[in-house]
């Protein structure tokens, strides 16, 4: 999902920065609120960031014969809500842009939008819906992480299709082309991410299987 440095036209690069900036600012506010209300949650937020750090470093083989990486943003979105993930995801993307030449500074706005904003918000929405539908916690977490992961890659496909429409079939054709590269490769990896996220939540929960005791989910509702 990393759009490489210099590969978005200037107007698009600026536009995605403008679109992402308010979310990242809200992420900073959200982080401060979480830490002010629950100083003990600092470590949990760090764990959510660490999970994204690990998963986005792991490029995995897929059935298409290509490699891609999960995003790991679903875990934090389920635990703390999607807002704070905009901040954590930006830190990860900045690390990769500066030290790994992966993604880039000019494409940071667009990459933040797909991985640190759309992914977490979709994960959070799926989590909420799944719980309302009465699905078990594990299934809800798995679905949230997997669908959020896919949403990130579909967003990247749309961003690229918008910047590089097909001469004949325009946006639609280009979107099919990019989604063919990203989304199909991502399908099995998204399932793997869903499973890993359930394992991580299990390991992090103080009482096995009780996400509420993890601290934030219920607290956040009351706050």
């Amino acid at each position: 999902m990393h759009i490489m440095e210099g590969y978005l036209p200037v107007a698009h690069a600026v536009g995605w920065f403008a679109a992402s900036a308010p979310f990242v600012a809200a992420g900073v506010v959200s982080f401060r609120k979480i830490v002010a209300r629950h100083p003990e949650a600092r470590l949990s937020v760090a764990a959510a960031g660490a999970f994204t750090f690990v998963l986005s470093a792991l490029k995995m083989p897929s059935v298409t014969g290509s490699c891609s990486h999960p995003t790991g943003t679903g875990l934090g979105a389920v635990m703390f809500g999607p807002s704070v993930m905009a901040l954590l995801g930006t830190i990860v993307l900045l690390f990769q842009a500066l030290l790994l030449a992966h993604g880039g500074l000019t494409t940071l706005g667009a990459n933040v939008f797909s991985m640190a904003i759309v992914g977490p918000w979709v994960s959070w929405a799926v989590w909420q819906c799944s719980r309302k539908l009465g699905l078990s916690q594990a299934v809800a977490v798995c679905l949230a992480a997997a669908i959020g992961d896919l949403a990130t890659y579909l967003t990247t496909s749309a961003q690229l299709a918008w910047a590089y429409p097909d001469p004949v079939s325009h946006f639609g054709g280009a979107f099919a082309k990019f989604a063919g590269i990203f989304a199909i490769t991502q399908l099995p990896l998204a399932v793997a991410e869903g499973l890993l996220t359930v394992v991580a939540i299990n390991a992090l929960s103080a009482r096995i299987g009780h996400l509420d005791s993890f601290g934030m989910v219920e607290e956040r509702k009351r706050a």
């Binding site: 440095e5 210099g6 590969y7 200037v10 750090f53 790994l100 103080a206």
Partner: protein, 96 residues
Amino acid sequence: MKKYSSVILLLVACLIIVIPLVIPAFGGEFAGTDDRATQAIASLKPGYKPWFEPLWVPPSKEIESLLFALQAALGAGLLGYVIGRRHEAQRRNVDH
């Protein structure tokens, strides 16, 4: 959720990752999708030159994998620390 289910989930995740590697029908170059997207851009808009270069590029594949490993290690280390602390805190609560 019972404890052993984590082990099963990890095994299934491993299977998902390993299957493309061992079943020849799924074989390929296993290039990164980011690079394939860059190639797709080249076919949609031939002659496109990126207008900005990365400030710093790892000088070799080895250095790049060093930094990726560092990224994963930092994340895994921190994650393991938090999990360890939580379980220790839980154990003490149970003891007292």
